[in-house]
Amino acid sequence: MNKFWKNGDPFVWLTGVALMFSLLMIAGLLWLIMAKGLGFFWPAGVTEFELQNDTKIMGEITAHEQIRGISGKSDTVEDKFRTQLKIGNRDLFGLDFRWIDDDQIVSQSEPKYAVVMERREWGNFYGFIKEITKNGAVICQGNEECWPKLEEDILVYANIYKQIRKIGKSEIGGINREIENYRLKIRGIELKGGNPEQIKQIEAKIADEENKYKEKEKELSVLYEEFTKEKVVMLSVDGREKEMALGNIVLAFRPNAMNWFQKASLYAHRVWGFVSDEPREANTEGGVFPAIFGTIMMVLIMSIVVLPFGVLAALYLREYAKQGTLVRIVRICVNNLAGVPSIVFGVFAVGFFIYGIGASIDSFFFSEALPNPTFGTGGILWASLTLALLTVPVVIVATEEGLAAVSQEIRHGSLALGATKFETTWKIVIPSAMPAILTGLILAIARATGEVAPLMITGVVKLAPQLPVDGYFPYVHLERKFMHLGFHIYDVGFQSPNVEAAKPMVFTTALLLILIVIALNLTAIVIRNRLKKKYTTSAV
């Protein structure tokens, strides 16, 4: 027995099993998220149930489970099943989801003409087409006749919707911004006690802008009229009628009449919509593009800040500081900083960056906008800086290790050729340590992308009206609040008014976040490996 332990085989097994468990857990996590997340966009079939109380119910089957309950027939407690349906039609039924006991079901069918509509308001609609009207006149009737017309016209109205968005958001938004800028200028002049002549000139410009605004408003009202011209009258499964403007429909499809190929192309379309659209309905529907954009931009700003900062600090610690007790203490502190809970950094950032630096910036440069804060409130810059602070120990530690691994011989070789210490550090030591530095950056990115807690108090919001980058000077608006995938998951999953409908979104967003972390890391890893190849070919 003793021999059995001594030869080490059990230990090999133990280590192997430990590794296997870790891998299984990771695989399980990914599998769960992928299974739940990827299926969301697949157009599920619509099923119609006839129940015992002579009512009809129709929707997508979303769950099927076993419960213990009192059976309807024999009044005894026994196992039975129930089914969850997404019935949509929130405007008619009040609830999107309904549980039905399986023993209540009389019959079930999959009606070929059942239409699923994604709407800009009220969530999905499940039902049948009764007729389409234009300017009040019926232009077609019935499922068969109206379907091609519906499909075609939805695209037309989607275009109009785009125009409305463009005018409403960017053009009128731009005019508003100009007016606001002029107002601030006037206020600035007034604060300085400037001359009324200047103010008058600016007021004239404001009047110009206001005229432009009125023109745009007119354009907009024309479009709105156009937008509501054509309406579709739908029949819900229980026979109620619902009239809605075609412009309010994002997407309509008949899942029961689609073949596999059509479903696949719709799937791709919806996935694309998810990553490229803005959210609708309190984030429970639509896309997550602003959150993707915010996450990536934040990580990039963080990288730009943390890399030079961490590398310089590590260079001083390793190359210039006299190695002694003080440096050792600093090093321990830096290492411990990496273990400080992230929310603590968030609290620090609120106090130091936002109320300290931000408020000072406001009072020096944006005093005319006060009391409305510009930098004195959460924004993408402060969030990025918070994360930079959070991850700087990681970069310092990795860089220091990289610098320590650069051999003394190489440094001496450079010095012996007449290079100064600075030239040696810059041309020999840093390039040699570059792979280690980038490893540090990879770890920093991985940590930063997944961080949510400190962001919630430094600038992340549920819904940001504008991206931090747009077409108006100065193009990059670092003071703006932004959306973030990690926070989006939390918001959709736990703060949503419609938790059941948002559940699949949680998984898809989580999947997306994982993919973005992987993509950012892969980029850094590819760069690192290229550098490694450049600097170290296999040498004996």
Partner: protein
């Protein structure tokens, strides 16, 4: 225990001898000296590593430093390009003249000095760059950026280090992909690329196989036509093969300095004779 005693006795003996010699310093006369060392003492904190070193190193000859480990050969060598400055605890007294200029004068530009005194290390230390960039490094940091000039320097130096034919087709490849002997010759090429007057070699062959060693030794024979070479070696045969003059050091002192022939065939000092004949060391 026994060896310690022997060393102790020897040390005492040498101290006595040094005492005796102290009054009239008799430098070994060499023709056309480039480096002159006068009363050089070097301390690491309180420990004295070099004691009263007086020596001249002749121009365009190879001078070998031999002696047991820890006798101060490398320390003395590193005094010539002030690489000892990197050791915080090191303190130097006395003077080292190169072409008559005291290199320990505070007004001396160390980087300029190191360009005049090249060095090849025990362990080959190519930079993690391409072969070309390794050789061009010295010229680049002196501010030379013209490609044509750099090309010329690289070719000339690689030819000078007998490496050109082996690497001419892969100048842009990493220097770390070369064999050990090639790397060491690359380091020699890198050192001669800045055209130093003196080339210091600190046990340049100790990590190489006999064939690579042979190549480097041939190279040293060629190089001494243009450069003054000072080589530290543990290998007595190597010293006798490549050098014109040999210095035997022990415990931080020069015991004997003479032409290589005399040191190996007819040493005047008993310790030198014991060392070169392999009786101790």
């Amino acid at each position: 225990m026994a060896t310690e005693n022997v060393e102790q006795i020897m040390e005492n003996e040498i101290e006595n001898m040094a005492e005796e010699r102290k009054a009239p310093v008799q430098k070994f006369e060499v023709p056309d000296p480039v480096v002159e060392v006068n009363d050089l003492n070097l301390y690491y904190d309180t420990k004295q590593a070099l004691k009263n070193v007086y020596m001249d190193i002749p121009k365009n000859k190879a001078t070998a430093f031999i002696g047991p480990s820890g006798c101060g050969k490398s320390t003395l060598l590193r005094c010539f390009n002030r690489l000892n400055d990197l050791v915080d605890a090191a303190r130097v007294e006395g003077e080292v003249l190169i072409d008559g200029d005291d290199i320990y004068d505070p007004s001396v530009d160390i980087t300029e000095l190191r360009r005049r005194v090249g060095m090849v290390f025990q362990k080959s230390n190519p930079f993690p760059k391409s072969i070309y960039e390794n050789v061009a490094y010295g010229a680049r940091i002196s501010g030379e950026n013209r490609t044509s000039v750099l090309d010329e320097i690289v070719e000339k130096s690689l030819k000078g280090a007998a490496l050109w034919d082996e690497v001419r087709d892969r100048l842009k490849e990493s220097a770390l992909g070369m064999s050990g002997g090639q790397m060491q010759r690359l380091c020699i090429a890198r050192a001669i690329a800045v055209e130093p007057e003196v080339l210091l070699m600190d046990e340049p062959c100790s990590a190489l196989d006999p064939i690579a060693t042979g190549k480097i030794e041939d190279l040293i024979a060629q190089l001494k036509e243009n450069y003054t070479i000072v080589i530290v070696t543990h290998n007595m045969q190597q010293a006798s093969r490549v050098s014109d003059y040999t210095v035997f050091m022990y415990l931080g002192e020069i015991i004997e300095y003479n032409s290589t022939e005399t040191i190996f065939l007819n040493p005047t000092n008993k310790q030198t004779e014991d060392y070169v004949s392999g009786k101790f060391g």
